[in-house]
């Protein structure tokens, strides 16, 4: 049945493309009524009309000014639809399209599809409370406020006036008997439904009401179709994807394969210069549009991901176009990492042991005062990070965030102590990705082992104790969000394997396996006396916990410790 599907086309730019598409519809036997925006200059318009003069089934309707979000679009659609219904009595379905819509499937398939569903109206139509589509906070209020100012040209007045109405509590009355619905402005209605809307005795009331509604082209037909249609299928036959601001995504040449696999009849919006797309989809049916396996989900995924990237971004990434304000990072760093305080002081081979026990990359003191101690003695790290302490200290946060970002997929572990640069402490304490384990006071072990004058040792011990105290206060602050474990040294050496096991379990990967081997603890005989000596000199080391002189002698008596843990 030819001529059963009529196309109403709203056109405002890229007229040459519109002409191509109109010819394509007409060639398949679909009558076309085109509305050209009144903003298009007269000469351009006349040339466009003349270019289509050879097609008897392409007509033009009265022109209206179509500014986005205003009544003009509805008025244009009404008059073009009226023209369509009057001029082509055979038309059963009217398809509303734009100049940048492109048929993706042979037109005959659309005609057959609609012929098989002669009473169905395809129009996306949902009540405002049911859908979260709307952007900018205006959903319900579209129908109850007034919008005399242009959103595009006069945003300030638009916003002020909305605010004023909210404050005053102004509400428009919705005409009796209608329930506002919204949906895609691209629909396909049956002659019965469309003519019922256009010939409604109450139409002037509705028109008057909707002419002041915000973006009426998304609600006028969507609402009124509910009044008359016997069979609404609430979806649009036009594939149209919207970004986070509610404007349509544009399709380019590189979307060709994607569009081929969509099972939609029509897609918008097509970039006017997308040569390959127009060429591929507007050629004769036999050769082109080879039907490939439809996979419409892929389009959804790609565009959903684009919105996600624009609104949420990639966690832990700081770059030229993503610089989140504090607490808006949605992930201070990009992945979990572990910080060890005091472990490499207490255990002689801790770093090697940790490397063997886990899959993680184990570094030395990344914040060491002289240089960045990358694992394996490297002097450059992933992403070409320098080992210069000056570069690191220039922005410690950027340094650590970069390191974690550059090594995505591999867990990083590093040692941290009071002798290191301390500027990073708040950053890691507040980062939920950080697993921080501290044996407080273990920094005294290297001092204890050192061959230095006691006065120097005493001075340094006092300094380190002060720094570590501050670090522990940071970790205990209510703002700390890291996974934090703190033991005093005395506590820890009582039963070292249990805490080690739980840390390793949390790091994961090779977990599920019991630790077969313990790291080798430094020989602590005489350590209690060492602490006592510090005390005797007036420096009270308190972070280590209780090391009594008696116990001090008893611990080494047990040596050598068992190298294997027996469970």
């Amino acid at each position: 049945m030819t001529g059963s599907v009529g196309i109403v086309m709203l056109v405002h730019t890229a007229l040459a493309r519109a002409e191509q598409v109109a010819r394509h519809w007409a060639a398949a036997g679909c009558p076309v009524v085109i509305h050209v925006d009144k903003m298009v200059p007269r000469t351009t318009h006349d040339a466009f009309v003349a270019s289509l003069a050879d097609l008897p089934d392409v007509l033009f309707s009265r022109r209206y000014r179509c500014e986005w979000g205003t009544w003009g679009l509805v008025a244009a659609t009404q008059s073009a639809s009226e023209r369509m219904l009057a001029a082509f009595p055979a038309v059963r379905h009217v398809y509303l399209a734009s100049g940048s819509c492109l048929p993706l499937r042979p037109v005959q398939e659309l005609i057959d599809y609609l012929a098989a569903r002669p009473r169905t109206d395809f129009i996306e139509s949902a009540t405002t409370s049911d859908v979260p589509w709307t952007v900018g906070g205006l959903d319900e209020e579209r129908f109850t406020l007034r919008f005399p100012f242009s959103w595009r040209k006069n945003r300030y007045l638009f916003d002020r006036y909305v605010a004023l109405q909210r404050k005053v509590g102004f509400k428009r009355r919705i005409p009796h008997g209608i329930v506002p619905h919204m949906g895609s402005q691209w629909w396909c209605l049956t002659r019965q439904t469309l003519s019922a809307i256009l010939q409604d005795p109450e139409r002037s009331t509705y028109d008057r009401y909707f002419s002041k509604v915000w973006i009426p082209d998304e609600s006028y037909f969507q609402t009124l179709a509910r009044q008359y249609s016997t069979n609404i299928e609430s979806r649009s036959l036009t594939l149209s994807k919207f970004d986070f601001q509610g404007k349509p995504h544009i399709f380019y040449d590189d979307h060709l394969q994607l569009l081929r696999r969509s099972d939609c009849f029509v897609a918008r919006k097509i970039w006017p210069h997308a040569e390959r797309l127009f060429e591929a989809f507007l050629t004769d049916e036999a050769s082109a549009m080879k039907r490939t396996e439809p996979n419409p989900g892929k389009i959804d995924r790609i565009f959903a991901k684009a919105v996600e990237r624009r609104t949420r971004g990639r966690a832990g990434l700081y770059m030229q176009s993503r610089w989140p304000n504090q607490d808006w990072e949605n992930g201070v760093t990009s992945g979990p990492y572990s910080v060890f305080g005091g472990f490499s002081d207490l255990f002689e081979d801790f770093e090697d042991w940790l490397g063997r026990a886990t899959d993680a990359r184990v570094h030395g003191h990344l914040f060491g005062p002289k240089r960045v101690e990358y694992g394996g003695g490297q002097n450059v790290m992933n992403g070409a990070l320098s080992d210069s302490a000056a570069v690191r200290d220039y922005s410690p946060r950027a340094f650590l965030a970069n390191l974690i970002w550059n090594t995505r997929g591999e867990r990083q572990c590093f040692q941290f102590g009071p002798a290191d640069a301390q500027d990073i402490t708040w950053f890691i304490a507040k980062d939920p990705n950080a697993q921080i384990s501290v044996i407080s006071g273990a920094w005294a072990v290297p001092l204890f082992k050192s061959n230095r004058n006691f006065a120097d040792i005493r001075k340094e011990a006092a300094e380190l104790q002060k720094i570590e105290s501050e670090f522990l206060n940071t970790l205990r602050s209510p703002y700390a969000k890291a996974r934090i474990r703190i033991w005093t040294m005395a506590e820890f050496i009582e039963a070292p394997m249990e805490p080690l096991q739980s840390i390793i379990d949390e790091i994961g990967h090779r977990a599920l396996r019991r630790l077969a081997e313990a790291p080798k603890m430094a020989d602590l005989s005489g350590f209690g006396q060492f602490l006592q000596n510090l005390k005797n000199q007036g420096m009270h080391p308190h972070l280590m916990g209780d090391f009594s002189l008696e116990r001090d002698t008893s611990v080494p008596a047990k040596q050598p410790r068992k190298p294997y843990l027996v469970q």
Binding site: D243, F244, Q245, K247, H249, I250, Y252, D253, D254, W271, H273, I302, F303, K305, A306, V307, R309, R310, T311, R312, G313, R314, L317, Y318, M319, Q320, S321, R322, W323, P324, N325, W328, E329, N330, Q378, V380, M381, N382, G383, A384, L385, S386, S388, A390, V391, Y394, S395, A398, F399, N402, W405, N406
Partner: protein, 336 residues
């Protein structure tokens, strides 16, 4: 931001515009084909000195991308580049012998040309050794990007400078005219960039890369700025403040998202480090016409004596824009 600060920035913007207006006399038009510029054309503005060997590829690269007209200021070249440029059908070229430094490193000259010819156009300001990469740049022309920016009401587009370098000594592989410089300088630093926000102008300040790693390891704060906003829908009221690092009015500098999302951005591949660099560095050091008393060039000269190999084990080899996107150096934002 208080009224007072807004007002001061406004005054400053006016000052740069007046300065550009004064500096216009330093420019002598050699060939002015700007009458051929059509509404909606994409324009490229550039200052250059003795870059003749780079011109053939540079022009081809941006012609293929969809730039319609080139407006170039030649700062007293002696290598014949002026004649070459004057012969190109889509190039307008001005000549000046005036001081590069006193034109604020060419900014004044280009501000003037942009004000005069760029109003209402998308304008791209790049050096002859900078090559713009944007999302989908391998499949979509520049006009696709600018149309999308227009549709999204975005007026400025960020493209950070990414220093490219060869593997091995910088002077090992000679660069021939017409050659793609990325064939030689195909490596870059992927993840050692440091960002601060400039509260005065609202722009981000990015440092890092091989220059900080090699030349400024002891004084990282002196490393050159890498943030750039080269693509702007120009209005005669706009002005670049310092190179293309930042603009006034300051709203144009807000090319980044502050609430966790990513805006679309590109990268300027900076192919400075070719065999031509050593000669250039020596010359620039003598001329003392560069930023901050040419501190950058002093540092280069110092390091170049020894072993000019910027490559390291963790250097990344350039493949395409998708690679840069995955590495987090640029973003598609919500362009799909």
């Amino acid at each position: 931001m208080g009224f007072w600060r807004t007002y001061r920035l406004r005054l400053q913007r006016k000052r740069w515009l007046i300065r550009a207006f004064r500096k216009r006399r330093e420019l002598k038009a050699i060939v002015n084909r700007t009458a051929a510029i059509k509404p909606g054309d994409i324009l490229l503005f550039c200052t250059q000195r003795n870059e003749h060997v780079r011109h053939p590829y540079f022009l081809k690269y941006y012609r293929d991308m969809g730039v319609n007209h080139f407006l170039i200021v030649d700062n007293d070249s002696t290598d014949g580049s002026l004649d070459y440029l004057a012969d190109q059908p889509d190039v307008s070229v001005w000549h000046t012998k005036a001081s590069y430094k006193r034109s604020r490193f060419g900014v004044d000259w280009l501000n003037w040309l942009q004000r005069k010819y760029g109003h209402g156009h998308w304008t791209l300001v790049v050096d002859p050794d900078e090559f713009l990469i944007y999302p989908f740049s391998d499949t979509r022309p520049l006009r696709a990007l600018t149309d999308w920016l227009d549709a999204s009401s975005i007026k400025s587009f960020s493209a950070m400078l990414l220093d490219m370098y060869p593997k091995g000594r910088i002077d090992e592989q000679p660069y021939r005219a017409g050659q793609d410089p990325l064939e030689i300088a195909s490596w870059f630093d992927a993840g050692n960039y440091v960002i601060e926000r400039n509260t005065r102008y609202g722009n981000l300040w990015i440092q890092g890369g091989p220059r900080q790693r090699m030349f400024f390891a002891d004084a990282p704060e002196k490393a050159p700025a890498l943030n750039k906003i080269p693509l702007v829908k120009w209005d005669r009221k706009y002005t670049y403040v310092s190179s293309t690092h930042m603009l006034l009015p300051r709203g144009l500098n807000l090319v980044y998202d502050e609430w966790g999302g990513e805006k679309a951005s590109g990268v300027l591949l900076h192919t400075k480090f070719l065999d031509t660099f050593a000669i250039k560095a020596a010359e620039e050091l003598n001329r003392k016409q560069h930023y901050a008393a040419s501190v950058e060039y002093k540092a280069y000269a110092e390091s170049l004596k020894d072993n000019p190999d910027l490559w390291c084990k963790w250097s990344e080899k350039y493949i395409n824009w998708r690679q840069l996107e995955i590495l987090g150096l640029m973003s598609k934002g919500n362009w799909a």
